[in-house]
Amino acid sequence: MFRLYWFIVMFVAAIAAHAAHVLFMPGATLEARLEQVLGPGTNSFRILSPAQAVQLLPSASPHDVVGLCRFDLTRGSVQLDASFPRGDWMFLVYTVTGRQAYSLSRTEAGETKFTVELIQAPGLIKDLLALVDDKVADVEDISNAGWRVNVPEANGLALVWVPLSDEIFRKPVEEGLKRTRCHRM
């Protein structure tokens, strides 16, 4: 007879397999795709070819311009000096596993040249240690800062997506966007 405890073992195995699949498999797949599409190199801004952009952003049309900085915060903050076009654009910060940490549109920003500091968000343990060490003020300073993005993981993408109505606008938009810089602080 298949006893009750085997059902409990089955249930626990199901929970473990479910959680492992949901939490790790999608992130690993995306990370592998990023590696394949973008290749090596971090903390520098580049403009993607239409083929690369369409692979990563399923709703981007082939004449949209997509530029990105693949950042690595393990050795400190990264700064993005944005020089974006006057038309519509979306600025997005994703973690390497696909979680969106920040999004900004042209209408929300109101300007096209600005600086964004990407910093790794303190984890729960660091938060607790800060509380113990009476460093609450520092944590609040960070969360209240303006053009500063707390990223929950050390690696990710800061991406600007410029939807264009025609291929002929691609060249001038790319030229303008090339002035964007991404570097370690």
Binding site: F2, R3, W6, F7, V9, M10, F11, V12, A13, A14, I15, A16, A17, H18, A19, A20, H21, V22, L23, M25, P26, G27, T29, L30, A32, R33, V54, Q55, L56, L57, P58, S59, A60, S61, P62, H63, D64, D88, M90, L92, Y94, T97, G98, R99, Q100, S103, L104, S105, T107, E108, L157, L159, W161, P163, L164, S165, D166
Partner: protein, 177 residues
């Protein structure tokens, strides 16, 4: 020996159930039926509790989720409820939602897709859109269908009012196969 076999069997069945339930939930949980038009489903990535499933919906295919400043609608069936096939011609017809920018895409499960955006189409005089999904050239606006069955048609808009109720979404009817 028998106990060991039971343990292996229990672990194998449990792991399979966990894996299949994860795949189904990643595929379906973040997509909510659109009120008044259940053929269309809208991606909801805002629920913090379901965030791993919402992110996984796209990440598991090696794609980035749509921006929070956009709305993502998708459907896998025509107006008669039949799944979309690459060898058939379909007509997308209707008014579009107010948007700063939009795009439509058709993709097969392997990830082959074609995309059309706001600047690529001619609209009707009343502002509505007629778009053919076809594997070969047809008159008017066309989105090239990739080969295969179980295609997915998606419609993404960037809207200044992302929480506004959806007035209506275009119909998608089969013309012929």
């Amino acid at each position: 020996m028998r106990g060991f076999l039971h343990l292996v069997l229990a672990l194998a069945i449990g792991a399979f159930v966990g894996w299949i339930s994860a795949r189904l939930m990643i595929e379906n949980l973040p997509l909510k039926a659109v009120a008044g038009n259940d053929k269309w489903r809208e991606y909801d990535g805002a629920d913090e509790l379901l965030l791993p499933y919402a992110v996984g919906h796209f990440s598991s295919r090696g794609e980035l989720p749509p921006p929070n400043v956009a709305r993502y609608f998708h459907r896998t069936v025509d107006d008669d409820g039949n799944s979309l096939r690459g060898e058939c011609i379909y007509e997308v017809n209707g008014r579009l939602l107010p948007a700063r920018w939009w795009s439509m895409a058709i993709a097969n499960p392997r990830g082959d897709r074609s995309v059309i955006a706001a600047g690529d189409v001619m609209r009707e005089s009343d502002g509505s859109l007629i778009l053919s999904l076809a594997p070969f050239p047809v008159p008017g606006n066309r989105l090239t269908s990739p080969a295969g069955s179980q295609l997915t048609f998606s419609y993404v808009i960037q809207s200044d009012t992302p929480d506004a109720p959806v007035a209506s979404l275009p119909a998608l009817r089969k013309v012929r196969c």
